[in-house]
């Protein structure tokens, strides 16, 4: 990779030194502190890495959902101006598949991550961690994936088994990533 890069570019000397070792990295930009990385490091992986401290129940989530989500997603997540969140299980091979959190999403972590980063649409990032757990719990509960009284939390969210967990087939070339670095 590196060799290709150098072959393809005519570079000034300052750039050559900048890329020659990481000790030169400060020539561009500045070091990021762990504290400021934490401000932006919002992604959550399927293994639960990235989940913040906190938790919530469907009952709490329902209150938040009705106030901030139902206008677009419908009462009980049945769909409205925007995506339906509930039902559709058993339709994926039919002529009219209904893709919802319950029928299609393979990871509960993706749901938490998406609500945290993108919802509610007019004011993304406005929910607290506890509120995000609660809304996630409500949507999972509506789909009968977790019991109504389940306390969803940092400790157990990654263990939630989604109905369509085995429903995805990645392209072979991206199952094991290799490169010549």
């Amino acid at each position: 990779m590196c060799a290709m890069f150098w072959r393809n570019l005519v570079l000034g000397t300052i750039l050559v030194t900048a890329a020659s070792s990481s000790t030169q990295a400060a020539e561009f930009g500045r070091a990021a502190s762990q504290e400021e990385i934490a401000l932006w490091d919002i992604d959550v992986r399927p293994d639960g890495r990235g989940l913040p401290i906190g938790g919530g129940t469907a009952a709490r989530g329902q209150v938040i959902f009705e106030q901030t989500c139902a206008a677009c997603h419908g009462a009980g997540g049945q769909g409205g101006a925007k995506d339906r969140l509930v039902g559709g299980q058993g339709t994926l091979a039919s002529a009219k598949p209904v893709k919802t959190v319950g029928s299609f999403w393979p990871y509960a972590t993706s749901l938490f991550d998406y609500i945290r980063r993108a919802m509610p649409y007019p004011d993304p990032g406005s929910l607290t961690a506890d509120e995000t757990y609660a809304v996630t719990a409500y949507i999972l509960s509506l789909n009968a994936i977790i019991p109504e009284d389940f306390v969803l939390s940092k400790e157990n969210l990654a263990q939630v088994r989604m109905p369509n967990r085995e429903g995805f087939v990645p392209d072979a070339e991206y199952i094991h990533i290799g490169n010549s670095r």
Partner: protein
């Protein structure tokens, strides 16, 4: 300000005449209004023109615009309801898309970011996490590359039952070609000292949805990826990611994260909503194909195309071909619904992972027929006909439609969309 000396009547007459002439000046035998300047004596006299300005506006006689859509078939909607805006392929010539007509697709509108306050955080499995400003990026070595960008939803009109009245803008307007300028991804990877065990990179935007995708660190992506801050020689437009976006030639549009604010290096895909619940393709068996990241070999005839009308005799067929797998090596055109094929001329430039223009001279005998193109890329991939394509992937995939596009022509010369 200096005003023109020409009299208003003469000017308006000149404009009127030019307008009708411009409407008629379309390719081949496409039927349009007859020109009113029948003899040279009718051509308006010359005279002083308009003032020069800071920008060069289009001629008032040129009608060319994108079409915003809310969903397949929901066209010309209120901008607040639009989720994409399609390029008028039928009105383009050459291969480079005009900057303001490059297609748009966004998930939470178009943020107007102040570059002085924009930052790119690079972290994760790196020796030195960095915060970069736009100035930092512009101080780094840059490359420029002409390449296409295509929304994975391009062609979605035609999965099941598209109306016969759609135009090529409706069916294929989510692909465009620009020159992109920015910092090679490989330079940044070396700069921060990415751990050799890192295999995936999360790219995240600064839009309301913070759109985020996992990018596999293959040799191809490392060698060709760009943190782009320029398009067609100028800073990115806000709609296309100002002040900086990721650009990955040949890969599905959604991976090319606009308004880039964060790159995080890891050792597995992060499984965001967009790479699980959204941009995956349902197969007939109900399983979904995931990480189908390349845009496959594709082509479409842009003239004559949907809702145009031709007349018998000499017609020039022209269109665009592209492939995420490399350079287009061959485009064939059939004027009998796929029974026989002729090799079309590639007019050049023909660049890897860029749109190439083809043309083919054809004499229409006036009988109803179907015209269709198929492309081949340098890796030998051949664009499939629709029946073979559907037989393989079904009709529920929603994304990555790349079958041949057939246009039917009736006895009166009307050109219409045909699912064949």
């Amino acid at each position: 300000m200096l005003k023109r000396f020409s009299d208003p009547d003469r000017l308006s007459r000149r404009r009127f005449l030019t307008a009708t002439a411009a409407t008629a000046a379309t390719a081949g035998g496409v039927i349009a209004a007859p020109a009113t300047a029948d003899t040279l004596a009718d051509v308006p006299p010359r005279g002083p023109g308009d003032d020069l300005g800071a920008y060069s506006p289009r001629s008032p006689y040129v009608q060319i615009a994108r079409i915003p859509e809310a969903a397949p078939g929901q066209r010309n909607v209120d901008p607040s309801a639009a989720i994409n805006s399609k390029s008028p392929l039928d009105k383009f010539v050459g291969t480079i898309t005009p900057t303001d007509l490059h297609y748009e697709r966004s998930h939470s509108g178009v943020p107007n970011l102040d570059p002085s306050k924009h930052r790119v955080l690079v972290h994760g499995m790196v020796k030195q996490p960095l915060v970069l400003t736009l100035e930092d990026l512009r101080a780094m070595p840059s490359i420029s590359r002409i390449a296409f960008l295509e929304c994975t939803g391009n062609g979605w009109e035609n999965w099941k039952s598209a109306p016969d009245t759609v135009t090529v803008q409706n069916t294929h307007g989510l692909v465009s070609t620009h020159e992109w300028t920015g910092v090679p991804l490989s330079f940044l990877i070396d700069l921060v000292g990415v751990d050799r065990a890192s295999t995936w990179m999360l790219a995240e935007g600064d839009d309301g949805a913070a759109v985020a995708r996992s990018i596999p660190l293959t040799d191809e992506i490392i060698a060709e990826g760009i943190l782009a801050y320029g398009q067609n020689g100028e800073p990115l437009r806000p709609a296309h990611g100002f002040p900086v976006r990721l650009f990955l030639p040949g890969f599905e549009g959604n991976l090319n994260i606009k308004w880039l604010r964060r790159l995080k290096f890891g050792d597995q895909p992060f499984m965001t909503r967009w790479e699980t619940a959204r941009y995956t393709q349902l197969r007939p068996d109900g399983k979904a194909r995931q990480f189908q990241l390349k845009q496959d070999v594709n082509s479409v005839i842009t003239a004559p195309s949907g809702m145009m009308r031709i007349k018998p005799g000499s017609n020039r067929i022209t269109g665009l071909a592209w492939s995420g797998h490399g350079r287009i090596t061959r485009v064939e055109v059939s004027a009998d619904g796929g029974a026989t094929w002729a090799v079309a001329a590639l007019t050049g430039p023909v660049l890897p992972k860029a749109q190439a223009r083809f043309q083919h001279d054809w004499v229409w005998d006036g009988r109803p027929t179907k015209i269709v193109s198929r492309s081949t890329d340098e890796q030998g991939n051949v664009q499939p006909d629709r029946a073979s394509f559907i037989a393989q992937v079904g009709t529920n995939a929603l994304f990555h439609y790349s079958a041949q596009q057939t246009w039917g022509i009736d006895e009166a010369g009307h050109v219409r969309n045909v699912l064949a």
